[in-house]
Symmetry: C2
Subunit: 338 residues, 2 copies
């Protein structure tokens, strides 16, 4: 009798393991249909990554002297101490102007279809270049003269752009910063999971992944970057500002296209490192990740998530928190003004 019980238990155990194994196997397969692990770097045909460009680009990323009043660098709104974002609802730009929208993290951003919430910048190169030359009341040529006056930079630009006679240009500044930004990938437990390591996610994270898929979040937040691949109206089932408590109504891509179909349309944000980069949404109007998840399900998918489901999804999103490399976390030393 004893043995029969033991045998039955063993059979049950084996059966249960198989079921559990194949369920988890199914989830991993499903995940690999919707997502992809991060590449080591985010290549671009138009801007091949070279060590000389990356070195210069990193310095320029930290370079406040690129700004008209000497107070702002890329790093100011994208410090690595806060995972490439600044924790503010809206950043403070040169001359103490408030930026129009929340600064998303620069980490993994080069993989998106475009830059900025409304996608008005083609890629990281254009974004970096125009961040300087676009908004400085016309006196931005001073910035190039300033760089030209710093011996250290003259040599570094020559090395990064050996074919150019006058390598210190806004275009090349954009290419160098872009090349640096293309190295800013942050491999996470989720990548390890996608590559086959079942233990890389906790049970709750796997349940969260399943909930994320089943709820429909993956309709927009998919691909290598878990977002960043398409544009979508914010507030399909209800005006977003009724849920986010946004103070201003932002018309989104309509601002650039003037097409009514683009009213309240924004780029779907990348969710990698989302747990490390509050506040959320284009205006940083929501501080809690759970609250952001709840609002998204409600106004994008017309679903009322339970507290438990929200906790599971938040747990899954935590598995998207990656590791910044030693190189990323090392401050570059800049040449002094002369």
């Amino acid at each position: 009798m004893k043995y029969v019980t033991l045998f039955a238990s063993l059979v049950l155990l084996v059966l249960f393991s198989t079921v559990s194994y194949s369920a988890s196997d199914t989830l991993m397969k499903q995940a690999n249909r919707f997502f992809k692990p991060l590449p080591r770097v985010m290549q671009s045909k138009e801007n091949p990554i070279t060590p000389a460009k990356v070195k210069l680009g990193k310095m320029l990323f930290y370079e406040t002297r690129l700004s008209v009043d000497g107070t702002v660098s890329c790093e100011k709104c994208h410090p690595f101490s806060l995972y490439g974002a600044d924790g503010l609802q809206k950043s403070v730009a040169v001359l103490c102007r408030i930026a129009p929208r929340n600064a998303p993290t620069v980490l993994n951003a080069a993989g998106e279809i475009s830059e900025h919430w409304i996608g008005n910048m083609k890629n990281v190169e254009e974004q970096a270049s125009k961040a300087m030359s676009n908004r400085l009341d016309g006196n931005y040529t001073d910035v190039l003269a300033r760089l030209n006056s710093i011996q250290g930079y003259v040599a570094l630009f020559k090395k990064a752009f050996p074919r150019d006679k006058q390598p210190i240009t806004f275009h090349n500044i954009g290419l160098a910063i872009g090349a640096f930004e293309r190295t800013l990938t942050t491999p996470s437990p989720f990548d390890a999971y996608l590559k086959g390591n079942k233990r890389a996610l906790t049970r709750q994270q796997k349940e969260g992944l399943k909930t994320f898929i089943d709820t429909g979040c993956i309709q927009c937040h998919n691909g290598t970057y878990v977002g960043g691949g398409m544009y979508m109206k914010f507030g399909i089932f209800a005006p977003y500002w009724k849920y986010t408590m946004s103070k201003l109504i932002d018309k989104g891509r309509f601002e650039i296209t003037k097409n009514k179909a683009d009213l309240y349309v924004f780029k779907v944000p990348v969710l990698r490192n989302v747990a490390m980069t509050p506040p959320y949404f284009h205006d940083g109007s929501v501080g809690s990740l759970g609250e952001a998840v709840r609002i998204m399900a409600k106004i994008q998918l017309n679903k009322d998530l339970s507290k438990d489901d929200i906790a599971k999804i938040v747990s899954f999103l935590g598995s998207l928190t990656g590791k910044m490399s030693q190189a990323t976390l090392r401050v570059p030393v800049l040449p002094p003004s002369e």
Copy 2:
């Protein structure tokens, strides 16, 4: 005959070497009378340096959430990319206010007799603590509540101040940041020279050192930090603003003491890393190091330095450019807001 010439040449060579040797020996001895090599860290009896305090202090040094508007951290005005200063004439503080004076480098600053140009802060601990609590229109207690709401910090403060029941206080923030700043020493070729390595300085740097001593610069710029040890009137032989082109006349320590003897008196700045931290003087009114040297000799010592002497002194000052440690150059990752 040939041998006599050879012998005479040898005698001359030996004599010359001895003279040259003893001259360089004298210079090194003289230098060791006026200066001292940097310590590894800048100890304080009141604030013993512990790894837990340094770790927390470094994070707080980068922490913009310590500022009332979330835009300013210590690091904003003291980025290590620019050798612990910000390259501006005057920094931009919270709420876009312009700081009253130039931000000196934080490197080696803990070794000074006091902090700020007018010495109104006793030490780095007081400076760090009051930078937050002094100037925030009374609503600075929010900052403590903000820190308390971030789990990561609660644990780090407990570890750094194990005896305190409520360790998150402005006083402890100052102690932690101070402990971190006390690690920011930058050993330079000049330190190697003071310790006996004659080759650590180039010939021009040694000539510059001699000129620096003979001109009288060492009357104020002496000790371990080549400055930072006393207060002195700026403009002994002529009003400083006639030479610096300062836009405002700053009364210096008179502002705090209301004593006429303190009119235009400032703390003698540390010259370590001076070549890396333009612009110069309390108001950052002079951009070129050579020009700053010329003005100082003129209005402090009533001496007109030749171009050659200025070049030598600038060369010597270059030997004060030290090395930031790997630890100093590593960005700390901060816990996200919750």
